[in-house]
Every structure is written in structure tokens, then in C-alpha cells.
């Protein structure tokens, strides 16, 4: 008796549909992903149990790095343009249109006024490596206040977030708070990373 031959089925599937779907999703995620802009300093933020989402809408952010330098981040490009125009007007700084364009492309900066002017005159490559010593916010030379005044002057409904590194000293944070108080800003948000709420309570 001859053996009954089982008919061999091909196991190759038609992957076209799956591939289509995968690439559709891929395209979606690539388009929605926001490119992370390189920041002049790293910020390792402390954790808290707060679950409020931090969104960069209508907001400027004051960051304090671990070595106590103060940076200002303006995520909105049109606001940056309005700010530099207003700043140049108020503080009588002569800036060319190229320099203003350069400021428009600078999301985060942390340097005093004189450094900023020479920074804006550099090419994009040099700007990336430009040493940033932080915005002065002490009582003798409070440039941070000037920037906040400029920003809130241009857009009064602006909110302010503070993002501090774990290792930042409280004294620097105190300077920032004192500056905000001077501008009559008493409410702001602090940026944190998520931490699980302890269960044994």
C-alpha cells in the first residue's frame, strides 16, 4: 500500500497588507514626533507624584542647570521674534536682521547681554559650541527680569515654568523666585518627572 501523501501547503503569507499598515503607522509616528532640540545643558529633573502634563503652549521656561546657570527657553518661534524686537527697542540694542533671525532660531539661551550680541553674530556652527555662562539674576545685575518683563510685555497671558536640575542649589532657585516676585508673578509651575505614589499609606 502506498502511503497517503499529505498535500504540502505553502506557509508563505502575503505580507503586503501588513507592510502597508506598518508603514502607515510609521509615517504617522514620524510626523507627530517632535524633534528634540539640543539644549546647551543637561537637566536631570527631580521626580514627584504629580501627573499634570507639562505642555509647552504659551509658556516660557526658566531652567537651572546642575552647575547653577540660568537658561531661558522660549518654545514659540513667533514669540521669540516678538521678544527680540521688543528687547532691542527697550534696551537700545542695535541688532541687524540677521542677528534677530539667529535669535529666532535659538530656543534656549543662557548668557548675559554682551555675550548674547556676539553669540548672535556667529555662524550656526559656532553658536552650537558657544560657552554659555547663564543669565545673571542677582540683585546687582538682573537680566532675567528684563527678559521676563519683555516676554510678559509682548504676551501678557504667558505662563512660566521652572525646570531645575536635581543638583541645582536652592540659592539660585531663590534668585529666580525673587525675580518673578519683582515682576508680580506669584504662580508658576515646576517641571518634574513622574514617580510612583507610595502605596503604604
Amino acid at each position: 500500500m502506498s502511503k497517503v501523501k499529505t498535500k504540502r501547503h505553502s506557509i508563505s503569507l502575503d505580507m503586503t497588507a501588513m507592510c502597508d499598515m506598518a508603514f502607515l503607522l510609521l509615517t504617522f509616528f514620524i510626523l507627530t514626533a517632535k524633534m528634540k532640540v539640543p539644549e546647551p545643558a543637561q537637566f536631570d529633573v527631580p521626580s514627584s507624584i504629580s501627573t499634570d502634563k507639562y505642555e509647552e503652549k504659551n509658556l516660557i521656561r526658566i531652567s537651572i542647570s546642575g552647575d547653577d546657570r540660568i537658561f531661558l527657553t522660549v518654545p514659540d518661534q513667533t514669540l521669540r521674534r516678538e521678544m527680540i524686537d521688543a528687547y532691542a527697542n527697550t534696551f537700545k540694542v542695535n541688532l541687524t536682521n540677521e542677528q534677530k533671525m539667529a535669535f529666532e532660531l535659538t530656543e534656549t539661551f543662557g548668557m548675559q547681554k554682551s555675550d548674547l550680541i556676539s553669540y548672535l553674530a556667529q555662524s550656526a556652527e559656532v553658536r552650537k559650541k558657544f560657552p554659555q555662562s547663564g543669565i545673571p539674576a542677582d540683585s546687582t545685575n538682573n537680566e532675567l527680569e528684563q527678559w521676563i518683563a519683555t516676554a510678559t510685555g509682548v504676551r501678557p497671558e504667558l505662563t512660566i515654568a521652572i525646570k531645575g536640575d536635581k543638583d541645582a542649589n536652592y540659592s539660585k532657585f531663590g534668585e529666580v523666585i525673587a525675580t518673578l516676585k519683582k515682576r508680580r508673578i506669584y504662580a508658576f509651575s515646576l517641571v518634574t518627572s513622574l514617580e510612583a505614589k507610595p502605596a503604604n499609606l
Binding site: 507592510c19 509616528f29 514627584s48 499634570d52 502634563k53 536635581k166 536652592y170 532657585f173 517641571v191 518634574t192
Partner: protein, 175 residues
């Protein structure tokens, strides 16, 4: 299927048919790659989200008469010192204070605050006094402790020279 059949129905000496090449491509590696990238972009977009919490500071009050009245026994003062140390005291009825040193562990400041919350109830006021040499993280930690314990009444004031003296005295007595 859709080819145009030319010729005379397979007669001898007909035209040579071009060999049909299968157009099927093995898509498996392509799908693998696509899913790998999808995973990457999904994780990269959702995991970088940060949280925030809203924080307020009271305006500076020049006139002491405008200061809100506070029952001393309802208040606990927490001083943030250097090296992640926390000091706390409660003012007693007779004006004396017990000064304690603790840390940010579960049995440290959290246990203290929990105990005070049980003793005083909803009226507990926490006065946070960060010293100049404390870290920003300490401040976030203590505010977070209050959020965990559900203590809504808090105030942040800078440490006074008296507080600094108390902390120094405490450190001297330990050493």
C-alpha cells in the same frame, strides 16, 4: 491571467513566450524593520513627556499686621539643610521648641508629618524654610511629601538667621 495571448493557439513553430518571472518579494524583513521603527517612535514620543505641578509663592508683606494669624501649635516648621538633611520643630504652648534632625527616608520626615497631621488634623500648616546650601531637589521632595500626605496648607519662606543658628547648634551637639 491578463497576458495577451498572441499567436495561433500553441501551434508548432509559434512565437517564443517570454518566461514569466514571479513578482512576489519576500516582505518579512521589511515588515520587521517597519515595526522596529514604529516601536522606537512610539516609545520615544510618549516616554519623554514630563510632568509639572503648580506652585505659588505669597507676595512679600512689608507690614507685619497684614500677616495671617497662625496658631503656633498648628504649625510645623521644616528647615531644609545641606546634605539632604531636614530639621523640624514645633512651637510649644510656652514658646519653647524641640529641634529635631531627620532625613527624606520613609521613616524620616514623612513619619513626622503624618504624626503631626494625625495630632492636629486639617489645620496643620507646614512652613518650609530652605537654607541657602540646600538643593532644589530637597524643595521638590518636601512639597511632594506634602502632596503625598494630602497636606494643602504650606508656605515657603527663606530661612532666617535664627533658623541657621538653630541648625548650627544642632550640628554642633551631634558632633
Amino acid at each position: 491571467m491578463a497576458e495577451i495571448n498572441t499567436g495561433d493557439g500553441g501551434g508548432k513553430g509559434g512565437k517564443k513566450r517570454s518566461k514569466k518571472v514571479s513578482t512576489k518579494v519576500d516582505m518579512t524583513p521589511m515588515v520587521d524593520l517597519a515595526f522596529l521603527l514604529i516601536t522606537f517612535f512610539m516609545l520615544a514620543t510618549t516616554l519623554t513627556k514630563q510632568q509639572k505641578f503648580d506652585f505659588g509663592v505669597p507676595p512679600d508683606i512689608k507690614d507685619p499686621k497684614e500677616l495671617p494669624e497662625l496658631k503656633a501649635s498648628n504649625a510645623i516648621t521644616v528647615i531644609l539643610g545641606k546634605d539632604n538633611l531636614v530639621y523640624w520643630y514645633v512651637m510649644n504652648q510656652d514658646g519653647s521648641t524641640d529641634f529635631h534632625e531627620t532625613d527624606f527616608s520613609d521613616d524620616g520626615i514623612r513619619a513626622t508629618l503624618l504624626e503631626r497631621k494625625k495630632a492636629v488634623g486639617e489645620n496643620l500648616n507646614v512652613i518650609i524654610k530652605p537654607m541657602k546650601d540646600s538643593k532644589y531637589k530637597n524643595l521638590i521632595d518636601i512639597i511632594d511629601e506634602l502632596a503625598i500626605l494630602g497636606i494643602g496648607k504650606k508656605a515657603m519662606v527663606e530661612a532666617t538667621p535664627d533658623d541657621v543658628k538653630l541648625v548650627q547648634a544642632e550640628n554642633a551637639s551631634v558632633n
